[in-house]
Amino acid sequence: MEWEAVIGLEVHVQLATKSKIFSGAATTFGAEPNTQACAVDLAMPGMLPVMNEEAVRMAVMFGLAIGAEINTRSVFDRKNYFYPDLPKGYQISQLDHPTVKQGKLDIQLENGEKKTINITRAHLEEDAGKSLHEDFHGMTGIDLNRAGTPLLEIVSEPELRSAKEAVAYLKKLHSIVTYLGISDGDMSQGSMRCDCNVSVRPKGQKEFGVRTEIKNVNSFRFVEKAIQGEIERQIDLIEGGLKVEQETRLYDADDDDTRPMRSKEFANDYRYFPDPDLLPIEIDDAYIEAIRSKLPELPEQKLARFCSEYGLSDYDAGVLVSSRAQADYFEVATRIVGDAKLTANWVMGELAKRLNQNSLDISQSPVPAEGLGKLLLRLKDNTINGKAAKDVLEAMWNGEGEADEIIEKKGLKQVSDTGAIEAIVDEVLANNAAQVEQYKAADEAKRGKLISFLVGQAIKASKGKANPQQVKAILAQKLS
């Protein structure tokens, strides 16, 4: 039987506010445990939450970016459950009146087609702390630094049909939130975490199958593996005559497998109700429009602009805008170089290759955009040739200095002195008399090959420094 997967994602995005959503404590990652938790975060008696307006602004930015309706009146609710890293015994979240209502975004499928994924809602909530089970000799340590960090939970409709689609959707979300600057998007630090709802059904069937939820998956690769594994597990179960249990599962990256966490029958009754400590957030159209007018350029807009402004192909522009950091890098460099195609080729080619080899993000590149721009400018103005440019990049990567410095130091400057090149060409012609004879006798097609050979000989004779265009021109002149 042919099976179809049905996938919906709940993505928790950590918002890049300086302070927490309901307190003034800092949100910086990686501080000593419990040094960034104030009396509010610790849920000391009598402490009260005060809304961080910045988090609302960020949620509205996201809503506008996905074309969603913004709720002019959103309400915070208490989600009640006991857990040691949840100090109040409830999480402040939004149940019935989220700040962002239905929106949508487009993803690109492998076959190049576009698919629109509907987003049900996006709501604001606070993060919990962390329970640390190691190093405490049979006890559990609690770190409340993360407690109260603002999260935007983005819930998709169950419209994704494969693990690859899910990853494409997640990557698109990632690019939107990082373009908006509302999250650092650093998945390794938990800035984006994903709950995956997965079910399977025979292709063509309308009803959904029984779904499972895989909790807290925190990388694109793990999302793909966890979902793919879960789809296969469910199909195996059904084909083996068994049933899929509705349950929550955890993905274990070490085993590349999911295992059950808790069964829904025993799930908490969260006893949601409106938090009486917080007033509803009332926002008016003027507030929304002010945010809309300041929205940064989003990936799709940037792609269109890269095509029209720089004359790049859809493909090149698409690769460049896949991350805001890469697009920004390209733009800074190309403004120096003044040749978009050349810059794009180097950003996507030589630079990307080195970054990949070293598992670096472009934002961590040892060669900054200005540096690459200055290097490519020397390539463009014929100071150096392509071969030399690669050597210079290598040297820059190793921290040997700026492009001009390295070109100077290593003597890589092209020889563009006509007299010097003429002397070399004459020498080459004298040393290759046979080829010169052949050239004179040959037709147009053959002549091209021979001239390339002679150009190569001349450049070799110049120790790689002669400007190839100049050599070719002089050769052609002398042979005619």
């Binding site: 008696p45 009598g46 006991f82 015994g89 006893r271």
Partner: protein, 484 residues
């Protein structure tokens, strides 16, 4: 003989009849003598009080005395006080010393007042008799066999017994007004949001409101001038400016129309109390006010609605007391579940547990619509009743309690009887309206209280009504004998 009112203390300090240290010492001496029997204080902050008094005297000598400089006060043990144990009447917080100050107590400290101690209360402010305190019941100074009312019973009894001239309290469903009535005091529950809740241990967040206990409306106005005001750290705190609550006290009452809600003058009201209220009406008429019967038709629904909403909120407000970070933790928990269960079972008393259970039930899936949502609808109806009535009249006059102070132990076996004690105070709480309680007579040697309910943020007008009444009556001047 200690002064009767804050106003007298203020003028005595100003005229150098006594220093703050002297009067503070006098109060501490009286507290030590009478507190063992009355049990008004959970913590007596003797050292703190004396050092604050000395600082106040130094400020006065330096010519830097603000109005309450050096005035000794007591604070309900629901207000967190930095470095001073704050128990909230519970074993759960028996040893809890907050590292921060509540906004209310901070304001009094900044105004130069002296803290005599932290007063007894029903555990987590849940109760109408002060019998739910882990630290034992408070005795009513008018008759030590009787309850002082609750939950702010310690503050009320302390002021009535002259252990302090004024005190702070909190009112969720009547916890200032009912003890004020039982102890013959003037007590104000301000408009919800008028006084900051920051640092006040929460019972029911949408209802809790701090306010003053005093002998007179004038004293209550002096305290309100310090307590009231916007607090950016409390999102539900009202933003509109406060007024000088003493400035309107002298205003004549000519042309005032006062409503008499007929539902409050029902069979639930004891006949002798009704008579006292009729006398009060006559006093007001003689001062130029006129009366009008009005109706608040949803009054009888207020107790059931309140006893869904308040427990619902308390059930989650008290979740933070889990034995993990502070407060009572059971000995040698064997796992997390055991830690939660035993810490909370041991730390909370019966009434708190009862309300947590009621509230948890009311918020549970499948019951939410029938209880919590329904109660919120009733709350809106009750509020609408008041809003339309208060468009017609300047204030409402009604009883505070169905009867005078009951005997200790009399109602403890029947929680519903105890809950019905709040029938006249709960409606204004649900509506978030300000209400002033003040003494208007005696029945069998026990004080009778009446209640004035006003429109939102009309505290100054209510205090004006109270002050004018007290200029023409002397119920508020009487004190219990206490073997003196």
């Amino acid at each position: 003989m200690l002064p009767h009112t804050i106003s007298e203390i203020i003028s005595g300090l100003r005229d150098k009849q006594f220093s703050s240290r002297e009067i503070t010492q006098d109060y501490l001496t009286r507290i030590k003598r009478l507190n063992p029997e009355l049990n008004c204080f959970i913590t007596i902050t003797e050292d703190l009080a004396l050092s604050q008094a000395e600082q106040a005297d130094a400020r006065r000598n330096a010519g830097e005395a603000s109005i309450l400089n050096g005035v000794p006060l007591a604070h309900k043990d629901v207000f967190c006080t930095e470095g001073v144990t704050t128990t909230c009447g519970s074993r759960m917080l028996e040893k809890f010393v907050p590292p921060y100050e509540s906004t209310v107590t901070r304001k009094f400290m900044e105004a130069g007042a002296v803290t005599l101690g932290k007063t007894n209360m029903d555990e987590f402010a849940m109760g109408s008799s002060n019998e739910n305190s882990y630290f034992g019941p408070v005795r009513n100074p008018w008759d030590t066999e009787r309850a002082p009312g609750g939950s702010s019973g310690g503050s009320a009894a302390a002021v009535a017994a002259g252990l302090c001239a004024a005190a702070t309290g909190t009112d969720t469903g009547g916890s200032i007004r009912q003890p004020a009535a039982f102890c013959g005091l003037t007590g104000l529950k301000p408009t919800y949001g008028r006084v900051s809740r920051l640092g006040m241990v929460a019972f029911a967040s949408s209802l809790d409101q701090g306010g003053p206990f005093a002998r007179t409306a004038e004293d209550a106005a002096l305290l309100m001038n310090v307590m009231a005001g916007h607090d950016p750290m409390d999102s539900t705190s009202a933003q509109n400016p406060t007024e000088d609550y003493t400035s309107a006290l002298a205003q004549p009452l000519t042309g005032f129309t006062i409503g008499l809600p007929k539902e409050y003058f029902s069979s639930q009201l004891n006949a002798e109390l009704e008579k006292a209220l009729q006398e009060a009406i006559k006093v007001y008429e003689s001062l130029g006010a006129s009366f009008k019967e009005v109706s608040l038709p949803h009054t009888e629904l207020s107790v059931p609605a309140y006893y869904v909403i308040a427990p619902a909120e308390c059930s989650t407000n008290l979740s933070r007391f889990d034995g993990v970070r502070y407060g009572h933790r059971c000995e040698n928990p064997k796992d997390l579940e055991d830690l939660y269960q035993r810490s909370r079972s041991e730390g909370f008393g019966d009434e708190v547990k009862r309300r947590i259970l009621i509230g948890t039930y009311a918020l549970s899936a499948g019951y939410y619509d029938a209880y919590y949502r329904q109660a919120q609808k009733i709350r809106r109806l009750i509020k609408n009743d008041f809003v339309s009535t208060l468009n017609e009249v300047d204030a409402l006059l009604c009883p505070t309690t169905p009867d005078v102070a009951f005997k200790l132990g009399e109602k403890t076996s029947d929680p519903v009887q105890m809950y019905l004690e709040d029938i006249f105070t709960i409606p204004a709480s649900l509506a978030g309206l300000p209400a002033l309680g003040l003494p208007c007579g005696f029945k069998g040697g026990l004080p009778v209280g009446m209640q004035l309910i006003g429109n939102y943020f009309t505290e100054a007008r209510l205090l004006n009504l109270g002050h004018q009444y007290q200029l023409n009556t002397d119920w508020h001047k009487r004190s219990p004998a206490l073997g003196e």
